[in-house]
Structures are given as structure tokens and as C-alpha cells.
Subunit: 238 residues, 2 copies
């Protein structure tokens, strides 16, 4: 337990520059941007230490001077896309503002489809995360409830946004990455689902599929979910 055991392992607690030694060739922002670029074009699996180092034009192991573990690189990436949140003055209508925030988060995730996969397992206290959280609290100023409830609202809303968008992305990627077309994929899926439902083991599921034929509007489903969550926190509706 003696020695250097208590070093900060949160990358945000580690100073970017200590003053001693040669000037670092890159900033954290450079590294994060390179990793984001790679993930955007080649997917999250393409983000390897070697790859990122190559993109930056340095040796693989040099990266470890900036990023002690790969997990920290992921943290940098999440923080980098968090900067894409456009923080604007709250309008006074907390519902509208929070919906705007949620829609923006969804847009960011669709722009960077690897974000949901990274969300679970990341520390969650990066500078831009704090900035966004502060902004949400600012938007919720008109809502007259204790801060603890506001925090719960933000957490719940973010959770819903993440899972919904993750689902959207997952189905989209699946059809894209397949060598066969979306129609074929759907055909296989429907055939399997139909075969299962046809066994009679899932009567209500069968009824649900009978009821809702035709394509579903994902955007509408998403906003409806948001509205419901906000309803649950709206004192004027209780």
C-alpha cells in the first residue's frame, strides 16, 4: 500500500502538462480528434493505439505518455463529442429546452454512432460532461423541485435517449453491414419472428404485430418517449 499506489487514475485529474521535459507534440484535443476521426470512418473497433498513433504521426508507445490506458482514450473521445453540444441561453420553457437537449444528444449519437457503446463504462465527469450537466440544470431553473429531483430527471432522460438511440443505430448498422440487402434481412427476420409467433406460444405478441403493420416513425416514437418522461416530472400535470 506504500509508494505510488494513490496516483490519480482519472485522466481528468492528471495535469496535461507538468512543465518538465520536452514540449509534448500533441494536446489531448489533438489525440481525441484523431480517435474520433478514426471511429467515425472505421468504427470503434478501428480505434487501436497503433491506429491512433499512426493518424497522429507518432510511434505507438508515445501515445502512452498522454493516455495511460486505452480506457482513457475512450474518455477523451466522449469528452470530445460532448463539446458538440451547443450551449445556448435557456428559454424559460424547461420542457422545450430539455427536449432540445435530448434531440441534440440524439443527433450527436447519430453523427458518432460509437458513442452509445462507449457510454457504459466511462467515468462521466469529463469537463464537457460537467458543462452539459450544468447547462441542463440551468434549463431546469424554472422547475420548482429540489436539485436531487432535477438530477434524477437528467439521468432518466439521458438514459432514455441513450437506449433509444442505441437501438436505432444498432438496427441501422446491422442492415448496413450485411452483405445482403435490407429487404433480405427483414425477410429473414420476419420469417423467423413469424415462425416463432406462429407456434402459438406468443399470442399477445402476435396480436401486437397484427395491430401495428407498416413502417414505424422512429423520430415520433423517440419524441413521444421524451414527452412521457417529462410528463412524469411536470408538477402542473400531477
Amino acid at each position: 500500500m506504500a509508494g505510488k499506489a494513490a496516483e490519480p487514475q482519472v485522466i481528468w485529474a492528471r495535469p496535461e502538462r507538468t512543465g518538465r521535459g520536452p514540449r509534448p507534440a500533441f494536446t489531448r484535443a489533438d489525440i481525441a480528434a484523431a480517435a474520433v476521426r478514426i471511429a467515425d470512418t472505421g468504427g470503434l473497433d478501428a480505434v487501436s493505439m497503433r491506429h491512433v498513433a499512426g493518424e497522429l504521426g507518432c510511434g505507438t508507445m508515445s501515445l502512452y505518455n498522454y493516455v495511460p490506458r486505452k480506457e482513457d482514450l475512450h474518455e477523451l473521445m466522449i469528452d470530445a463529442v460532448g463539446a458538440e453540444h451547443e450551449i445556448r441561453e435557456p428559454s424559460g420553457d424547461w420542457r422545450a429546452d430539455m427536449i432540445r437537449n435530448a434531440e441534440e444528444t440524439r443527433a450527436i449519437m447519430h453523427r458518432h454512432t460509437w458513442v452509445p457503446r462507449l457510454m457504459s463504462g466511462v467515468y462521466g465527469f469529463s469537463p464537457n460532461t460537467l458543462r452539459y450537466l450544468e447547462h441542463c440544470l440551468a434549463c431546469l431553473e424554472p422547475l420548482d423541485v429540489p436539485y436531487s429531483v432535477k438530477m434524477e430527471l437528467v439521468a432518466l432522460l439521458n438514459g432514455v435517449v441513450t437506449t433509444y438511440t442505441a437501438n436505432e443505430i444498432a438496427t441501422a448498422e446491422r442492415t448496413r453491414s450485411m452483405p445482403w440487402s435490407e429487404e433480405e434481412e427483414n425477410a429473414v427476420r420476419i420469417a423467423y419472428l413469424g415462425s416463432q409467433v406462429a407456434t402459438g406460444a406468443y399470442p399477445r405478441l402476435a396480436a401486437a404485430f397484427m395491430e401495428g403493420s407498416g413502417p414505424i416513425d422512429l423520430e415520433a416514437v423517440f419524441t413521444r418517449a421524451l414527452e412521457r418522461v417529462l410528463d412524469a416530472f411536470d408538477p402542473d400535470l400531477r
Copy 2:
């Protein structure tokens, strides 16, 4: 586009036994159980094809006869833990039943802490998933809304359960896996957070932390979130 391009890539659409050739040594259930056992004791990263094959007592490449890709192994794992859902007769009180389902899902995830990480990126139509979905619809029978709304309720609730529990697990694992104690970890965290908040850049965040000192009851937070979501769907409350 000719040839065998249109093979089903969903493992559930592929028959477990085709009739030709030697009798397979294992069932899918055997393989899933072995993988779950490994993940429970050694974490999700310990689930490699070699490891699972070793646990089963067969050669690594033999596994590929049963499981075409590792992703499919994950699918088997999710389905296996889905079997732990105890399906009991609906009580007639849909709120109580759904809360019970959610609590049970949370318990399963705490028992198998790798589940949330696998949830995003899995197909979602495994036999036990369908079984659980059917059960949820049965519980929601007393609720007089179209099936589409019921589906949205289930999706929303599952999303909330997953994100909340994932957060609980993430923080728990972080403190456990660290060489330093939870107090030290918290000290580092508080120190960093405090240093950030002290800059004055996050006044509302600071206020929130001032307000809510003391340990938070995760269980209570969780059930409160569930209640809120259910409120949003309860016709009697609108």
C-alpha cells in the same frame, strides 16, 4: 449475389441440429452455460473462444461448429440469463407486476454484471427475450391502451432499468477493481469534482452537491424512476 449469400446469420434461425454427420457433443445450452460461468467469475473480457472451449473440454475451433461468430456467443449468453426471469401469473395490478419485472431484471443484472454491456449490440429476438416480452404484455392486459403503446412502455422501462443498473454496476466495479480503497477513490473523485466546482464555472452543480450530502439510496432512486415512468403511462393519473 448468387450462391450461399442468403444464409441466415441470426443464430436463432439456424437449426441446432441438422441430422447429418456425427452427434454434436454439446447443446447450445451447454455452451451458453459455460460462457455465463466464465463471465460471472472472470468478467466479460475472460469470455474468449479458447476459454469457453477449454471450459467445455473441446478444441477451440470446434466451438465454431455451434457458434459461427463470437457475437452469436454473446447472443446465447443473453438468452441464457433471460431464462432466469420467473414468469408467474399476472396479478391484475399491471403497475405492481411491471415493477416486479423491472426489479427482477435489475437483480439478474446484478447477478451477471456483464449483461448491460452486452445489451447494446445484441439482436433482441432470442427465445427467452420473446418469452419475457410476451409475459410483459400479459401483465399489461388490464391497461387499456393499444399494443403499440404497451410496447413503448416496455421499451422505455427496460431502457431505464438497463441504464440505471449499468451505472450502479459501473461505479461498484470501479471501486472494487481499484488497488486503493473506496474511501481513497471517493477522496480523489471529490477532490477533482470539488476542484472543478470551486472554479465557479458550475454554480448550479455546486449548489446541487451542497444540497445533497450524505450517501444516496440507490434502490430508492431506482424505484422512484420506475414509478415516474409508469405514471407517464397511467390513464388514471392524466
